[in-house]
Amino acid sequence: MNALREAFSDGAVIAKRNVIKIKRVPEVLVFVLLSPIMFVLLFAYVFGSSILIPGGSYREFLIAGIFAQTVVFGATFTGAGLAEDMQKGIIDRFRSLPMSRAAVLVGRTASDVVYNVLSVLIMALTGLVVGWRIHTGVVDAVLGFGLLLVFAYAFSWVMAYVGLLVPSPEVINNASFMVILPMTFIANTFVPAENLPGPLRVFAEWNPVSAVTQAARELFGNVPPGTPVPDVWPLQNPVLYTLIWSMLIILVFAPLAVHRYNRVRS
């Protein structure tokens, strides 16, 4: 129990340091905020203009998918941040201090929530500008955003582990692209999962990115009317399925990342 308290109090010191960096290097923040705007506009106008959904608006259908994709991509920052700390040698200093072995990771994943909150906020505003609306109540909307952030937080532990594996920060973008692109495209993010061919369809239906997208769509009231109820359990219970995945990811990747941190040399 003491170890857990230390992980959080030391983690808070590290998170504060990372947040100071966000303030001092606003260039990073600019890109963090510009890319979601670009995503929303590109997809809304390029695909949104040519794909029709019977009885609904493709643009509205799309926004939740872009939210999900953007927060998953946002996890790359966690990995890049850790890889950079390693390259700069500061991880060695932390590892020589009598601090919690989990603190650097707890602090990093926590401070990256700031990025995710900002990028979700910016995307929502951009969405509103291009015609996306929330058709449910405040509680559902808050739950929808909350769920996106929970999944984003969990996924940042995956990238934390990857960030400690790669030899330099430059590698992390390529490494994460290989994983994140299929994860976010073989899903119901941009097209309904039931239209995908055989194996891809199965992957998409069980893909947690589909579940978080489906959950957001339902909570924002963006499911086109008359859409058949999905016939797989994950998409029928997307909120629960997303929470289960988030928990599993943290349970697997947090210990892996801490284990790796204990051995890594910058």
Binding site: K88, D92, R95, S96, M99, R265
Partner: protein, 330 residues
């Protein structure tokens, strides 16, 4: 407790490469051990192991009374480390860097702030305390990094090549700081590839090469191992080098080293100023025009050459005698 660092038979392999090959170290309380060796000798690996960053493949170690492998957390509460690359956060200010370290040492808010201010003043960084570190010069960053190792007033301080990459002036400044530290009773393990630095700062020196200690003792004792004095002469023109060598051969008690480019010649002799006078007469008789001549004690570089057959730091020929030795290599 007299020994603050005690390591036995440390072995560390990275694949085929043997970084440490059975290294023993002992550092008494309040003394400075200089771990001296060229790049790749295993100095940083030794520091990594003793500061709990790396597990060895074999061996035992105790630091400040705690077992490094059985109880690393206790060791971490009693040590301060300043690594080879200034491990400071360049986006934080100097104050924020030290305050953060204080908090992680669990000094508490007010104590860690006070300590940060105090150290910034002591390291002449007070004027830049609230500036982001990325505006600091290399020397300032190193001083800040060193300050980071002292935040908790730890019993044992490890400095891994604290002055590598610094200019002469910053190096001297850092030496003063380290001197001050030692005078306050800290126990220090310092690695360096600068012979001059170990000579200047360390009570005891362990010369390490290929992961093994190849010699140890005080600077004085090590110099004693290579024997007596040398006459070093710089001649006015390169044509005179061979003549000078010929003239002084009768005085030499070992191999004469010649540096063609620097027009200098190094002759091991036995005896003192009488030999120097004799040498001057011989050179004069041979018609050698001299630019500079003197008698000097062997440097640690001579020690290294005698022990290993190669010199420690070919790229940092800061003093003329280093250049001489370098060029004398086959």
């Amino acid at each position: 407790m007299d020994l603050m660092i005690e390591a036995r038979g440390l072995v560390k392999k990275y694949g085929e490469v043997v970084a440490l090959d059975g290294l023993d170290l002992e550092v008494r309380q309040g003394t400075v051990l200089g771990l001296l060796g060229p790049n790749g000798a295993g100095k940083t690996t030794a520091v990594s192991i003793l500061t709990t960053l790396t597990d060895p493949d074999a061996g035992q170690a105790r630091v400040a009374g705690a077992d490094v492998f059985a109880d690393p957390h206790t060791v971490r509460t009693r040590i301060g480390l300043s690594g080879q690359y200034a491990a400071v956060d360049e986006h934080l200010t100097g104050f924020e860097n030290l305050d953060m370290i204080g908090r992680l040492y669990k000094l508490g808010k007010s104590r860690s702030r006070a300590r940060a201010r105090e150290l910034l003043e002591r390291f002449d960084l007070g004027f830049a305390a609230d500036r982001p570190v990325k505006t600091y010069s290399g020397g300032m960053r190193r001083r800040l990094d060193l300050a980071g190792a002292l935040v908790a007033e730890a019993a044992v301080i490890f400095l891994d090549e604290p002055t590598t990459g610094l200019d002469i002036r910053s190096r001297r400044e850092l030496w003063d700081v380290i001197h001050d530290l030692v005078s306050r009773g800290a126990t220090l393990l310092l690695t360096t590839q600068y012979l001059e630095e170990a000579d200047h700062l360390a009570d005891e020196i362990v010369v390490i090469d290929h992961g093994r200690a190849i010699a140890e003792g005080s600077s004085h004792e090590l110099k004693g191992q290579v024997g007596g004095q040398r006459i070093e002469a710089t001649v006015a023109s390169a044509d005179h080098v061979a003549t000078a060598e010929e003239a002084l051969r009768s005085l030499a008690v070992g191999d004469i080293q010649i540096g063609a480019r620097s027009r200098s010649i190094l002759v091991p002799v036995s005896g003192g100023t009488d030999v120097l006078q004799q040498a001057l007469r011989l050179l004069d008789a041979a018609g050698v025009e001299l630019q500079d001549v003197g008698l000097r004690r062997p440097t640690l570089n001579d020690v290294f050459l005698a022990l290993t057959g190669h010199i420690a730091e070919p790229e940092t020929a800061a003093t003329p005698e280093l250049a001489v030795v370098e060029e004398a290599r086959p």
